[in-house]
């Protein structure tokens, strides 16, 4: 396997792939190789095998087949007019890299994407061929995520779904006008069309598996997508509302937000500055509120006037401050839905509180044992031996919820 040339190509094609935020390897069909024939397993929860100093997990071998591209998307390092070094893997090289890394327990599997070469169909064929070789010839049972080319022929999409655990098509920009301006070769309509087709296949296959467990699977880990934040003028409300539509309309497992990152040889129509990293984080927090905490979009909007989520505190704290009249809650009586709205309480902890309070009246010491961030939640709760002094009505609470405090000179 060690070919010197391979290392140089890997450096280029991994570097070119890193702007895609997705690395998930969870939630796919369960497989293993205990029969002694294949290689690999997926057991529900994905594994992050390493972390890079950018704080992101490395779960999959995330590479491009090639970074040559006939498209000219302004935000993309691989666009036609960019001045980067180009490289291309052969199908065989990707297969050997994946297997070599997997056998040493470096990765959970492969995330393969590509620049568009020759045509959408030709590119998609190459991606599908890698997945097919891995599955049918190497009997690889690890995780495969394939980036899907929107205009590719339906039979190619179908083949991709048979081999891959997850498929993804990036919507790239929160607004279609942004897409038209920054990615003139991409067509919003065809992206939507392909996502709808994938959803249809995924649901069909799931339905069939429900009735006949041996029915062929189609992308059992579903589809995901990514939006670039801060490259066009869309504000956080627009981004969240697009995300909401993607979750409900296309059954996305995940919508990734990728803060626009300065790229070498950046295009002139990009903003001169990167958005604060915190903005991306706040969007993920709001995304979680929508999906796991029972908030709806309007509530988040109402608590963040001006179109953007506040940077200085998390959106759940902002909502709580805007809705002080609901607090404090009696920790021994409040229903689950309301407890979930206390900043600092998550679904796991709330369930623990509910289970524990069936056995005893919870006092301060109990809550402190059950809740890791007890200091943060105390102003929102009452207990038999605790009434918040700096309760929600206190002005000081707002100051305390602001995470990075105002700095003084000394």
């Amino acid at each position: 396997m060690p070919v010197p040339d391979l290392k140089a190509k890997l450096a280029i094609l991994a570097d070119a792939a890193k702007y895609d935020a997705s690395c998930a390897s969870s939630g796919t069909a369960k497989r293993n190789s205990a029969d002694g024939k294949g290689l690999g397993s997926t057991e529900g929860m994905g594994i992050c095998h390493a972390y890079a100093p950018d704080g992101r997990c490395i779960s999959l071998l995330k590479i491009l087949l090639t970074n040559s591209c006939i498209f000219d998307c302004a935000y993309c390092i691989n666009r036609r007019s960019s001045n980067v070094r180009r490289a291309r893997f052969t199908v065989d090289e990707v297969v050997r890299l994946t297997i070599g890394f997997y056998r040493r327990n470096y990765i959970e599997g492969l995330f393969l994407s590509s620049g568009i070469i020759r045509s959408s169909n030709y590119t998609m064929e190459q991606l599908v061929e890698v997945a097919r070789r891995l599955r049918e010839e190497e009997h690889f049972r690890g995780y495969i995520h394939l980036k899907t080319i929107p205009d590719a022929a339906p039979e190619l999409l179908e083949a991709a779904g048979r081999h891959a655990d997850r498929l993804s098509i990036n919507v790239e920009l929160p607004t279609e006008s942004g897409l038209a301006r920054l990615a003139p070769d991409k067509d919003a309509g065809s992206i939507r069309g392909s996502m709808a087709t994938l959803r249809h296949h995924i649901l069909d296959a799931k339905d069939a598996t429900g009735r006949y467990p041996s029915a062929p699977k189609f992308a059992p880990a579903g589809q995901s997508t990514q939006m670039i934040v801060g490259a066009d003028g869309a504000d956080d409300h627009a981004i969240l509302s697009r995300a909401n539509a993607l979750y409900t309309g296309f059954g996305m497992r995940r919508v990734y937000y990728s803060g626009f990152s300065p790229i070498p040889d950046g295009s002139a129509i990009l903003p001169p500055a990167r958005p604060p990293l915190l903005r991306e984080h706040r969007l993920y927090q709001a995304d979680w509120m929508l999906r796991f905490y029972g908030f709806n979009l309007d509530e988040i909007r109402a608590a963040s006037p001006g179109g953007h989520l506040p940077l200085e505190m998390d959106p759940k704290a902002a909502w709580a401050l805007a809705n002080r009249h609901l607090f404090p809650l009696d920790v021994n009586r409040a229903p689950r839905e309301l407890l979930l709205r206390v900043p600092g309480l998550g679904p796991k902890v709330v369930d623990r509180l509910l289970a524990a309070r069936r056995w005893r009246q919870l006092r301060l010491a109990d809550v402190e044992r059950l809740v890791r961030s007890a200091r943060r939640v105390k102003p929102f709760l009452t207990m038999p031996d605790w009434l918040p002094r700096n309760g929600p009505d206190s002005l000081r609470l707002a100051e305390r919820l602001v995470q990075p405090k105002q700095l003084s000179l000394l």
């Binding site: 991994a14 570097d15 594994i47 704080g55 071998l61 470096y106 990075p404």
Partner: protein
């Protein structure tokens, strides 16, 4: 039913075959429960472990000891908790088992201290188990029987036995061995064998594919978004010594700043200064008069970073020209530093203020504003390449160190900055101006000049 207490308060020895011997634990607890022996009368030992004294007679066998009824949840909890390294684990599980006989739903009460204790242990073990799945790195060797994948790993708890099944399911078709200090597992493609503990030298010293893996690790890292703490919380340093890729971390961090700023045409200081005039990275530009950029020679040995421009600076467009600037000039002169040879700038480049009548009162920038403006500071640093960055006050400290700093505690000595370059922290001169007491002002001023001298010595300026 609470079992009747034993008639004699004699202690017994409970002997396990190995530190995480779950079957042994079940057998002993079943017997102890049948005999009504309380936790404090069982002395737990492990076969072959000479550090634990053998003092008491073994538990008498009770051939038909009934199987106590426990919730399934307890079995799962006990299986994890017994793999913990805490010597308390056996007695804790024993006590929980006894209490479960009268309070079958005890485990639902997470606020019970014993339940909580056991849950914490289980959580630590579960995490360690997961980290083992993640961080084991096989090296390929080969003999007459074909390829053989061998890993050396040092878990924090006794998790190899919990994890071996995972590796079998995943790598059933390859021959592998996982060596740990306590016990080793070998899979010969048919069955699992348990071998004694090993040492690092028993594992192969290298594998050429690791170089390719390291190439991948370095290339997939995005230097534009350094988040070292996030990395360390998920991949704690204790694991680094057995991860080939971890050897790259220090140099990747050190290069990150320069690589990232290289992504935008770095240009010259004059270019960057022009660009900064149009900065809209945070809302502070709106009420301010102008961007106050740094000044001084490119290539200065010493870079001095203050907080933000004040009223005078905002009007004149130059840093440190108001009252605090005059005090700084005086102190620099006393310390023997030529201001014109240093590069002088601020963490935040716009004046932030509150209007009080007709006066503009200074207001400290918040962390978001400092972070937004770090963009410019980074580019100034990339172009000036100072030997030492002298930080004046907490805002400058936050801008350069990326965290809250306690100036009183950290001032006056060299502080390495996150990118590996040299820093030095002292107070902001406006702090001296605000001291009400004249004597204190004098003393603090002298201390400030001392700090400047020390910084000068360090910068070699």
């Amino acid at each position: 039913m609470i079992p009747a207490p034993a008639t004699r308060a004699a202690s017994y020895r409970a002997e396990l075959a190995h530190p995480a011997d779950f079957e042994g634990l079940r057998r002993i607890l079943r017997t102890a429960l049948a005999l009504g022996i309380p936790p404090q009368l069982l002395d737990w030992t492990i076969t072959g472990d000479e550090s634990l004294p053998v003092r008491h007679p073994p538990l008498p066998p009770v051939p038909d000891a009934p199987t106590p009824r426990v919730p399934k949840q307890f079995l799962e909890l006990a299986q994890l908790a017994i793999s913990h390294t805490s010597p308390r684990r056996f007695r804790l599980l024993h006590s929980l088992l006894i209490r479960l006989q009268v309070q079958p739903r005890l485990l639902e009460d997470r606020s019970d201290p014993e339940v909580d204790d056991a849950e914490q242990m289980a959580k630590a073990v579960s995490r360690d188990r997961h980290k083992m799945r993640a961080f084991v790195r096989f090296r390929e060797t080969s003999d007459e029987a074909g390829p053989h994948y061998i890993a050396w790993f040092e878990p924090s708890h006794h998790v190899l036995r919990l994890d071996a099944g995972f590796f079998v399911r995943r790598f059933a078709s390859q021959r592998w061995t996982i060596l740990t200090p306590q016990v080793s597992a070998h899979w010969n493609r048919q069955e699992l064998e348990w071998l004694p503990g090993a040492s690092r030298n028993d594992a192969p010293g290298e594998d050429p594919v690791e170089e390719i893996w390291k190439t991948y690790y370095a290339s997939t890292f995005n230097p534009a978004r350094l988040k070292v703490k996030a990395m360390e919380s998920e991949m704690p340093r204790k694991y680094w010594k057995n991860l080939p890729e971890a050897a790259l971390i220090p140099q990747l961090i050190a290069q990150a700043e320069t690589r990232s700023s290289g992504m935008i045409a770095v240009g010259t200081l004059a270019n960057v200064r022009d660009e900064a005039q149009a900065c809209r990275r945070c809302p502070l530009w709106q009420p301010a008069t102008q961007t106050v950029f740094g000044e001084g020679p490119e290539g200065a040995r010493l870079m001095i970073v203050g907080e933000q421009p004040g009223d005078q600076e905002d009007l004149q467009g130059r840093p440190f020209v108001g009252p605090a600037g005059q005090l700084l000039d005086q102190a620099l002169a006393e310390a023997g530093i030529d201001r014109s040879s240093a590069y002088v700038t601020n963490a935040v480049k716009h004046f932030k203020f509150q209007l009080r009548g007709k006066r503009r009162l200074h207001e400290a920038p918040n962390a978001g504003e400092i972070e937004a403006c770090r963009w410019w500071l980074d580019r100034e640093r990339a172009l000036v390449k100072p030997g030492l960055v002298l930080m004046l006050g907490a805002s400058a400290g936050r801008a350069l160190m990326g965290r809250a700093v306690a100036v009183g505690k950290e001032r006056g000595r060299p502080i390495p900055l996150p990118d590996g370059s040299a820093g030095f922290l002292t107070v902001h001169p406006s702090y001296l101006l605000r001291l009400p007491d004249e004597a204190a002002k004098q003393a603090e001023y002298a201390r400030f000049v001392d700090d400047l001298r020390a910084a000068k010595a360090q910068a070699g300026a």
